[in-house]
C-alpha cells in the first residue's frame, strides 16, 4: 500500500494507548522501520488478520516501554511490538 497522507483522525496503531478501539484504514509497511522488508511485513500482518476494515482494540501492554501490545483483531488476539504496529494505520 502506498503511504497516503493521514487525515487528522488517522494514526498508527503503534502510538495508540491501551483501551484504544478503532478500524484499520490501511497498511503502511514503509513506516515501521522493521527488520523485515516492506513486502514481508505487510504479508505477515495480513496473514495475522490485519486487513483494511478490521476492528482493533489494544487490550494489554508490556511493562518496559508499554511494549509489546496485545491487540484484538476482530475475533483473535495478536501480540506485536509497537515498532511493527506503526505500519497499521487506524482511525
Amino acid at each position: 500500500m502506498t503511504d497516503t497522507t493521514d487525515t487528522p483522525s488517522h494514526m498508527p496503531l503503534g502510538l495508540a494507548q491501551r483501551g484504544f478501539t478503532g478500524v484499520i484504514q490501511h497498511l503502511a509497511a514503509n513506516r515501521a522501520g522493521s527488520a523485515l522488508s516492506d513486502v514481508e511485513l505487510e504479508s505477515r500482518l495480513i496473514e495475522l488478520g490485519f486487513v483494511e476494515g478490521a476492528r482493533v482494540e489494544i487490550l494489554h501492554e508490556g511493562l518496559v516501554g508499554r511494549d509489546p501490545i496485545a491487540v484484538r483483531v476482530d475475533s483473535i488476539t495478536i501480540a506485536v511490538r509497537r515498532r511493527e504496529a506503526m505500519a497499521i494505520i487506524v482511525a
Binding site: 504479508s43 496473514e47 518496559v64 511494549d67 484484538r72 475475533s75
Partner: protein, 623 residues
Amino acid sequence: MELPLLHLALVGTPNSGKTSLFNALTGSRQKVANYPGVTVERKEGFFVTPVGRQVSVVDLPGTYSLRGRSPDEEITRDFVLGKATGETVPDLVLCVADSTNLRLTIRLLLELKRTGRPMILVLNMFDIANRRGITVDVERLAKELGVPVVTSIAVRKGGTADLLALTDEISAKLAAGPQKNSWRALSVSELRATQREADRIIADCVSLPASPDTWTARIDAIVLHPVGGLIVLALILFVMFQAVFAWAQPLMELLNSGFDALGELVHNTLPAGLLQSFLQNGVISGVGSVIVFLPQIIIIFLFILLLEDFGYMARAAFLMDRIMGGAGLHGRAFIPLLSSFACAIPGIMATRVIDNKRDRLTTILIAPLMTCSARIPVYTLIISAFIPARDVWGFINLQGLVMFGLYATGIVSALAVSFLIKFFMLRDFAPAPFMLELPDYKMPRLKSIAIGVYTRAKMFLHRAGTTIFSMMVLIWFLASFPQPPAGATEPAIDFSLAAIIGKALEPLLAPVGFNWQIAVALIPGMAAREVAVAALGTVYAIEGGKEAAEQIGQVLATKWSLATALSMLAWYIFAPQCASTLAVIRRETGSWTWMGVTFTYMLVLAYAASFVTYNVAVALGAG
C-alpha cells in the same frame, strides 16, 4: 480386498488443535523422527478407518500460509505440493481449523485449494464453539469453499467418527493420477484478496456472538497485567522448580535404592571377578545413575506441555519480550531457554519457533548455560559433601543457597554472553519482529499431554540405553584394564588406562585444583554430564572397594579440599560437557563452526571460572 495404505496430511495454523486431533486419531501409534537434512520434527501416526483401511497420517508443522518463511513452513509447503524429498504425496489433506477462530484458517484453505490436492476442512473444537454461541452453517460453508467440511471434537471419545466416515467415503472415490497444481507464491494484493474472500465467506456462513470469550479476558486481565503478570510468571516458575526438586525426590530415591538392590543381587549371585564388576559397577550403577533423572524429566515436560496446551506459553513470551530484549534476546527465546533447564537438547530444538536467524543462533549458543537436570546430580553430590547444612540469617538453608547461586550464575552468564554476542558479533542485524497469536485459553487435554510426556520419556530412556550405556562400558573398561600385576599393593585402578590418561591430563588441570581422578571422570563426562558422578564412583570404588561406591560423597569429602570442590562446581556451570548437545547444535545451525564456537567459549569460561574460584578459595584458606 486389501485396500492400499492411505496417506493423510494434517495442515493448519498454529493453535488450531492439529496436534490433539493427531493424538486422537492415532493414540500412541506414533513415530517421531526428523525430515532428511533439516531438524524439523516429523510426526507420523497410524490408524484404521471403520471399513478397515490402513491410514498413515503426518502432522505437518503449523503455518499461516504456504509462503514458507521458516524451515518448518517450507516442509509443510513442499509436503503438500509433493516436493518433499523421500515423501509420498498425500492422498488427502486435512485442513484443521479451530472452530472458534476461522478467519486465518479459511484464508489458508483458500490458498491450499490451489494446490489441487483432495482436501477436507475439519472444524475442530466444535463443542467449544457451540458453547460460546458460535453457529456454523456447515453445508453452506462446504458449498462456498468447494471442499467437504466435517466437524470434530478431538478431545472427546467418538468425536472424530464423522471425520473417519467422511475419509472412507472420499478415499473410495479418489481419482487416480496427478491433480492440477496452480499454486504459486501469493503477492501482497492476492493475499489481501484471499483474506477478503475468507472474511466474506465467514460473514455468510458463521454467526459470532456479540462478546468474545469472557474467561480468556478475565484470566488475561491478571496474567497480562504489566506487573501482576510478571508476579504470576515468577510464581509459576517457582512452583515448577519446587516440583522438579521436591516432588521428584521420593521417586528418585526409590529408583536409586532399586538399582542398589539390583547391584547387590548381582554382587551376591555372581562370583567375584570381571563379570561381576562389569555388571555391578559398569552397567547397573552407570545406567542407574542416569535413569534416576526420569522423574525430573517427566515433571518438567509435564509442566511445559500443560502450560503450552493451556495457552500460557505465548503469554510468557509476551511478558518477557522486552525484558529479554535488553540482553539481545527475542521473546520467543523464553520457551526454549525454559526447556533448557530440563535439558538443552529439547531447548535447542525448540528454537525453531524463532524465525529470525540471528535471534535463533544467539538462543542456541546460550541454551547450554541454563542449568540442565544433568548437572543436578553433580551439584547435589558436591554440595551435600562439602557445604554444611546450616542456616544463614536464621532462615535460609546454606546448601539451598549455594544451589540457587549456581542456577543464578548460569542465567546471568547466559544473559551476559547474549549481550556480548549482540554487541560484538552480530550487531549488524536489525531486531526481529515479535508477532504472535495469543490463543484463547483451553483446558489442557490430558490424553494429549500424556502422549507428549510419554514420547519424551521414551526419547530420554533411549538415550540412557544407548549413548550413556556405551560410555559407561567404556569407562569401566578404561578403569579396569590393564589389570594390576600379581602381588601389587597399590589400588588396581592405578595400573589402568584411565589412570594413564588422567595423569597425562593432570598438569593441565592442576591450576584449577583437579586431581587425576577428576580428569578421568571428566572424560566420560564429555558424553553426558551426569555420567561424571558414576565415573567418580567407579574410579574411587575400584580404588577403594565396594563400600566407597555407596558413599561417593563421603569419600570425596576426605579426598578433595573445599577449594577443589568449589572449583568443580564452577567448572560444571560452564563446561561444554555434553556430546549430544554439541551434536544438536551442529545439526540445528548446519555448521561445524558454531558448534566449535560453543565448545570453545564454554571451555574457556569453565577454565577461567574454575581457576579464579580455586585460587580465591586457596587464598582464603580453603586449600
